[in-house]
Amino acid sequence: MTSRRDMLRSALLGGGATVVAATALGSLGPEAAFARSASDVEPGAPDPNFAEGRIRSIKDNTLLVLGSNMVFHSIKVVDGTSLWKLGPVPFDEAKPGDGLYARGVRMPDGVLAAESVWLNIVNIKGHIKNITDKTLHLDHNGQEVLCHVVAGKSVAVHSESPPTADLSMLRVAQHVQILGAWRPDTNEVDIATVFSPH
């Protein structure tokens, strides 16, 4: 890992930074898990290069995933696959029971070779019912969701200002949007980003 990092570092700093030609395709940050693909998929037809569901089992580097529409997906994770679980994580962080969204390339044998996998990612809106020790109690359509602040990971974006690790500006009763990682089979979420309108 270190030698690869050294190689990438020297390629960037030693070789002189380059600006590569842009085309019309978009970014692939965590928000892209919820983005609509601009591909040529028929309206209403499932995107073959996308899968969602919960991990039933893990065999070698393949995740067996049961989709919410009861369709099984085999998702192959390779060296170049990015995994997100409240941030970039190694493959061994993927556990049976985790929910996921994955994008990649569908192989002829039906296996999805994943480029990006987002584990347990959730994007919820609601208003803050209460704030207790490092936890926001979010009212999401009448359901309480406990959103935990994770030191060093959670950030707040107030309006257009840069993200800050200081979440103490959040107020009871205000509306927020939370991007985070669900703790499977609970009503609890670890916060990645809180978006606040003010």
Binding site: R9, L12, V19, S82, A192
Partner: protein, 251 residues
Amino acid sequence: MHGIAATQPYVIALFLVWAGLMKLFSRRMRARAGQTALARLVGAARAVPALRLVGVVELAVAAALLAPPLSPWEGTAAALLCAGFLAYLTYSYVAAPTASCGCLGAHSRPVDVRAFTRAGLLLAASLVAIPADPGPPLVALGLAEAVALMALSAELDRYWLTPLRRLLVRLRRPLAVVPSEHVPLGTSLHLLYRSPAYCSASAQLTSDVQDTWDEDGLRFVVYGARERTAVFAVPLTGDDPSAVLVTLVAS
């Protein structure tokens, strides 16, 4: 028991008057009638007339409870009304779990255990009131009951519960953080996304963040870019997006 039964009509009447007046005269409540469980029960078009009808019945029962002469029928009528509320709440909980109840004012919260407790307390008070005790009411008991019923009313939360919680948050500061040198990855990514370097390379990117590490005041962020690898260097301090560097490396 002396005085307890005599207290109940006042408590019940207070809440029935409040509920009836809100249903008859609150413009906001009429505007949101379509979002209550009542709209599901009687149809959206008949929600406002139904709301008014319930309001009139509530005011009529309240007037009967307050006006002499005393009669056991008054408590019975109130008990029937409260039993109806409970049945309606149960219907709302089962048939329209996301709709609000439209009981005492406009709000968007669905029926929960507090709404059931409030209706149950009112029913109990109505049953206690049936003997039609002519004795003087117990003021302290009446006030305690009214306070308990108000505390169970989600409609009033913004007047006392929200300010109370804000005050506690201000005093306890549950989200206060120890100042730290560590920059969360989200902060660096926010700067990265706004940089010309990222804009120029984003079309090539095929994965989310593969790897990241800090070195010499820079945070290196690695993405997959088809058969290649995109490496960005984001300064850990400062907020100038043009300081971000990028290169594409053949893997």
